[in-house]
Amino acid sequence: MGRKESILLYSIEINSLSKSYGDFIAVDGIDLKVEKGKIFGFLGPNGAGKTTTMKMLTTLIPPSGGKMNILGIDGIKSPLEIRKKIGVVLQQPSYEPTLSVEKSLEKYGMMWNVEKKIRKNRVEELLISFDLADIRKKKNDDLSIGQRRRVQVAREFMHDMELLFLDEPTVGLDPSARRGLLDFIKGKVKDGLTIFFTTHILEEAEYLCDDIAIINKGKIIAVDTPADLKNKFGREKTIKIHVSEQKDMSSLLSGIPDCTVEHDSGTVLTVRSSQSEQVLQEILKILASNHVPVEDLSVVPTSLEEIFLSVVKNSNA
């Protein structure tokens, strides 16, 4: 692929990117490509290297080695050029305590050199989109953590950008504000924005992201779409059965191959299997032959959270 073509396709391209602090390797030679106009989820346990990677990509700290190309610009040679084209919502709260909500938005737009008339319109739009209109005159210092977070995220949309980095943006938000923010982000992506998103909430990543990378101990251990990650790592499904009579179901089902009993309370049984359809048929056959009436049953595909836990556990092993 030619260089020009590559620039058009990817908002972020990093090769062997690393960061060390003395003997400690925080990020260990990672490679990533983030397609333009997509939402890229970056997942990992605490201390895995997510925030350090984010800080390097946003040019806040220089890498110890490797290459990074952000929006077609060399991240090591021209960090300022990159910062002019990106937006960043950092994990830590950031606010000016003495300013009101609307003044915060207005001043942030001014700092980004947004025209006064455009600033004014954007402030009004964002106050509504982020449900901040009722508290527009309140000072940041007097806001709750969730309100402050909403202002912090809203503020970033005061300026134009091609790529937005969001480091756990929904921390402190209630479920309705969280969903509102995710939907707002989805809308912005439709307009062509690329988003690099870190979160601990796997449901969010599943809801929002086109592609996901999982990082652990400074290394990327999986990259794919949520669906393909599930196909690769989540062939197992969970079968949950409710019966009306107390029975030792674990013993009854012990002969079924590829059937791992996870929980047995006597009336509720949870098993996992990578061949869920055959196993379910076998279970129903055995229960019927033992005259055990089934009250309810469900087959649940493996969640992204289970995949995440399993992938991280395997990488730790």
Partner: protein
């Protein structure tokens, strides 16, 4: 609009709330009009160069330097507040360089220092107008003292901001520094007549140099001592500014 102007605009907006402005005027006014007249019974007149000043005129001009120090120590803590509230990192992931951030703070401090000096000159003027001897040569002394004094005290606040991590520690250090600078200086009383240890300590305090140069400018008195004090002030401001810049540019994120 240039990046530095945008940052200065932002710095002024977050620093200049109504409380700050009122405090900046009320605080020195209390000293000028309450202490100035109350202490007149104790200190009638103060020799200054070839003049003898009334105590209210002496303290009113001292308050110009005092207010420059007071306001720039406060505005110098913009960096502290930015670090504490996450804005330092947020600004540095924006379209700004560290150098621009540092310079914007210097300009903000300079502007606040000059405005403070102007405000106190205006309100204190009725007390010292009889003895004022402005001329083309002495007015630049006041401007020089205001700018170098602002940079010097702003740099001190910036250095403290970069070195300390806890709010409690920061407040203790700033208050201690403020008390020493304010009261171990010639802002409130002349060095002549003070116990020798105290009058020597006065000259380890940059506020003494600042108020002496301001008074020299206002009362039209210039001699070798004033020139030396200007040199000390200039060198002090330059060195402290360089140290503050170095520490800020090395501040880990």
């Amino acid at each position: 609009m240039h990046e530095i102007i945008r940052l200065v605009n932002r710095n002024l907006t977050i620093s200049l709330n109504m409380g700050f402005v009122i405090w900046q005027i009320i605080f020195p006014l209390i000293y000028i009009f309450v202490a100035g007249f109350a202490y007149t019974a104790l200190i009638h007149q103060v020799p200054f160069g070839n003049k003898t000043l009334d105590y209210p005129a002496f303290i009113a001009t001292g308050m110009i330097g005092f207010n420059i120090m007071n306001s720039t120590l406060i505005s110098g803590i913009i960096i502290w507040n930015d670090r504490r509230h996450g804005m330092f990192e947020q600004i540095l992931v924006g379209p700004f360089t560290r150098a621009q951030y540092i310079l914007s703070n210097v300009y903000t401090i300079g502007i606040i220092g000059l405005v403070s000096a102007a405000m106190i000159t205006a309100v204190g003027y009725p007390l010292f107008f009889k003895q004022v001897e402005f001329n083309v040569l002495t007015i630049p002394l006041v401007v020089f003292a205001s700018i170098t004094g602002s940079i010097l005290f702003g740099s001190i606040a910036s250095i403290i901001s970069t070195r300390l991590k806890s709010s409690e520690g920061f407040n203790v250090v700033i208050n201690t520094v403020f008390l020493f600078f304010a009261f171990v200086s010639t802002a409130f009383y002349p060095a002549q007549g003070a116990p020798p240890i105290l009058s020597t300590a006065f000259y380890f305090n940059p506020l003494t140099y600042l108020v002496d140069v301001v008074r020299a400018g206002i009362f039209g008195y210039f001699n070798g001592l004033v020139a030396t004090e200007m040199t000390v002030l200039g060198i002090g401001a330059t060195v402290l500014f360089l140290v503050a810049t170095k520490l800020l540019s090395k501040l880990e994120l």
